[in-house]
């Protein structure tokens, strides 16, 4: 395929890239060939000197010998033929002028070596070998210039000194054509081979261009994907913010709703007390409804405080302050906080011999209070039941704490949502209790799970990693 032609299939970008790669490759090949010839020139120079020293080391005048003229020729003329092409290869590698300079020097080297060997026929093959080496440039014009130099040498020497090139005194005038014919035949073979090599180089360039363009397309796709991921991440963050705001709104609504009832009761009690006190302050002391309303106010304000406290527990991200914390007394404290209920027994079944884990005492007491209170409240009205707190663990192993009740159990459709904040099935409650429990357990590096069966009760299972016990030990 000729890259300069318009062909269907490859795009313009592909063709331009392929042409560029082909030129780069060809330039690299020619620079490499320049270096090869620089070395070859040096080798030829050394060879020429050796030939001169071997064939004609001395010229003689009687018994006095002096270096032969061929030795000087090999040294100085050889130096001239060597240094200039090496300089071209060194300072102008890959240039067309360098290739032609090398070609001319190489063909002149043939002449010099033929001369130094006394016109030996075998040395004439240096011409053909040189042409073969010059074909490595993959430039037909170099072969042409080298061949022209050889033909010109044959014509000039054939006219001035035919024996030096043809070996006979009086050759026919067209004898140079015979020599040029064989040079031309060799050139045709070399040109054919060179064209094949250039075609292969073009094909390689097209394949490389296809690969590079495909790689660039993949990189562009990858960059686009990265951009999309970044945008998606931005959207996700935005969505999280929106969800948080929505949650805050929902929470505010829920809290407002929860606070409204106790506050309304407080307001009613306060209104009554205000009216009663403004009418008769002294007589109010004997009014039995005054302490009743004061009790209502205290109870409802306590409920408000509980709601606010739950909200703060859920919202605060305080990391746990771990310290050795005996579990059984902690369970006793939690049970003591939970309001008792008729018919419901709460049992602390944590072994006294249990090793001391490392926990945030305040947070974990809150966890136990919430779980126990939840279990107590899960008991159907008018039924007796039992809530048990169990624990097991070792110094170097994981810990398990279980809160088990035999209440009504959790419906299967509700079970997956019980740890979500603001989710509640109770008529009074913020839906934060189990969410707070899950948060705190997670802050301790643990997990919490629940197993429940309708009508037979539930079991909350806290799993703490071994590090808690290890730190305590």
């Amino acid at each position: 395929m000729r890259l300069s032609e318009d062909v269907s299939g490859p795009t313009v970008a592909l063709k331009e890239r392929a042409v560029l790669l082909f030129r780069e490759h060809l330039g690299a090949v020619r620079r490499r060939t320049d270096r090869l010839f620089a070395g070859l020139m040096l080798a030829q120079w050394a060879f020429g000197i050796l030939v001169a020293l071997f064939v004609a080391p001395y010229g003689w005048r009687g018994k006095d010998g002096a270096p032969h003229a061929h030795v000087y020729a090999a040294l100085f003329l050889g130096a001239a033929l060597t240094v200039f092409p090496i300089a071209l290869a060194r300072w102008r590698p890959g240039d067309a002028a360098t290739r032609h300079g090398v070609a001319l020097a190489q063909m002149l080297w043939s002449s010099l070596l033929i001369h130094l060997t006394g016109g030996r026929l075998e040395t004439h093959f240096h011409v053909f070998v040189s042409l073969a080496f010059l074909s490595l440039y993959r430039d037909p014009w170099v072969l042409l210039s080298a061949s022209c130099a050889t033909v010109a040498d044959h014509i000039i020497r054939g006219f001035l000194w035919p024996e030096s090139v043809y070996g006979i005194v009086d050759p026919e005038w067209w004898r140079f054509l015979e020599h040029a014919f064989w040079v031309g035949i060799l050139n045709m073979v070399l040109l054919h081979a060179g064209r094949g090599m250039r075609r292969e180089m073009r094909e390689v360039a097209v394949r490389r261009a296809e690969l590079e363009l495909a790689r660039e397309r993949e990189e562009e796709k990858s960059a686009a994907l990265d951009r999309a991921l970044r945008e998606l991440s931005g959207f996700q963050e935005h969505l999280i913010r929106v969800e948080k705001l929505a949650a805050v709104g929902q929470l505010a609504a829920s809290v407002g709703h929860e606070l409204r009832n106790p506050l309304a009761a407080v307001r009613n009690a306060h209104a009554y007390l205000s009216r009663r006190l403004s009418r008769d302050v002294i007589g109010a002391a004997d009014d039995p409804r005054v302490p009743q309303f004061l009790g209502v106010m205290e109870r409802e304000l306590g409920a408000c405080a509980k709601i606010i406290s739950d909200l703060l527990d859920f919202a605060r991200e305080r990391p746990p302050a771990l310290q050795p914390c005996p579990l059984r007394p902690l369970v006793d404290e939690a049970i003591g906080v939970v309001p008792p209920r008729d018919g419901v027994r709460i049992l602390n079944e944590v072994p006294e011999s249990l090793p001391v884990p490392c926990l945030d005492k305040e947070q974990f007491r809150q966890v136990l209070v919430n779980l126990v209170q939840n279990a107590v409240e899960a008991m159907p009205t008018g039924r007796t039941g039992q809530v048990s707190v169990l624990a097991e663990g070792q110094d170097t192993g994981p810990w398990a704490i279980r809160v088990i009740d035999d209440g009504a159990g959790i419906p299967p459709d509700v079970l997956p949502k019980i740890f979500e904040p603001l989710f509640t099935t109770k008529t009074r409650g913020t839906g934060l209790g189990l969410a707070i429990v899950a948060n705190m357990v997670q802050r301790h590096g643990g997990t919490i799970s629940v197993r429940s069966e309708a009508g037979r009760g539930s079991e909350f299972h806290i799993h703490l990693p071994a590090t808690a016990a290890a730190q305590a030990a």
Binding site: R61, F84, V169
Partner: protein
């Protein structure tokens, strides 16, 4: 990247200088190859003092040679061709110079052995160059052909350039004389290409190997 015009011009100038230098070098080399050695007048009749005496009844060729001259290798090669073409009709001898004060090893080198290997050629040492002086030869490879009657028919070299083998007028002339029936006619003279056999001032001035 486009190179500065000065650099390009400098390279063009260097290239022209290089071509000129190479041209001068090849011209000097060619001139050296084509510049013949000195020759003196050879005796028209076989010198009676020549040793060994000429062969009776057939032509005799004498080549005066320097035993270490690289150009003489080509002359011996051409002599071998002449001897092959002569088919035993020619008595040839090569007299290698042995200057005074040198040993036999100095003379009996590769050229001696090459000459001795040519069928029909006798190889002898020319002690002190007396035979060369007798035949008027001052350049290695100088060959003289005397006919059956002892008359000089050819004087000169058997090569056309220094150390260059191949067809040449000298060898052609010798072979033509050998083919000639009756052996009448003049003398053929040709240039000699080789090292100087002796070191006379006048020879030294003109014969540069």
């Amino acid at each position: 990247m486009k190179r500065p015009a000065i650099a390009r011009g400098m390279w063009v100038g260097l290239g022209l200088l290089w071509l000129a230098a190479v041209g001068v070098g090849f011209a000097l080399l060619t001139r050296h190859s084509l510049t013949p050695g000195a020759t003196h007048e050879a005796p028209a009749q076989w010198p009676q003092a020549a040793h060994p005496p000429r062969a009776e009844g057939r032509p005799t060729l004498v080549m005066l040679a320097h035993p270490r001259c690289p150009c003489t290798r080509a002359s011996l090669g051409e002599l071998a061709v002449v001897m092959e073409h002569a088919r035993g009709q020619l008595d040839a001898r090569v007299l290698f110079l042995r200057p005074e004060g040198t040993s036999g090893d100095w003379t009996q080198g590769p050229l001696w052995r090459a000459a001795a290997g040519i069928p029909g050629v006798r190889v002898l040492a020319d002690e002190g160059g007396t035979q060369a002086r007798l035949f008027g030869a001052v350049t290695s490879g100088h060959s003289l052909l005397y006919d059956a009657q002892g008359r000089l028919r050819f004087s000169g070299g058997l090569t056309v350039a220094r150390g260059h083998r191949g067809d040449n007028p000298g060898r052609d002339a010798v072979e033509a004389l050998l083919r000639e029936a009756g052996g009448s006619g003049g003398t053929s003279q040709h240039a000699v290409y080789g090292c100087a056999l002796e070191e006379p001032p006048e020879v030294r001035a003109t014969n540069t190997p």
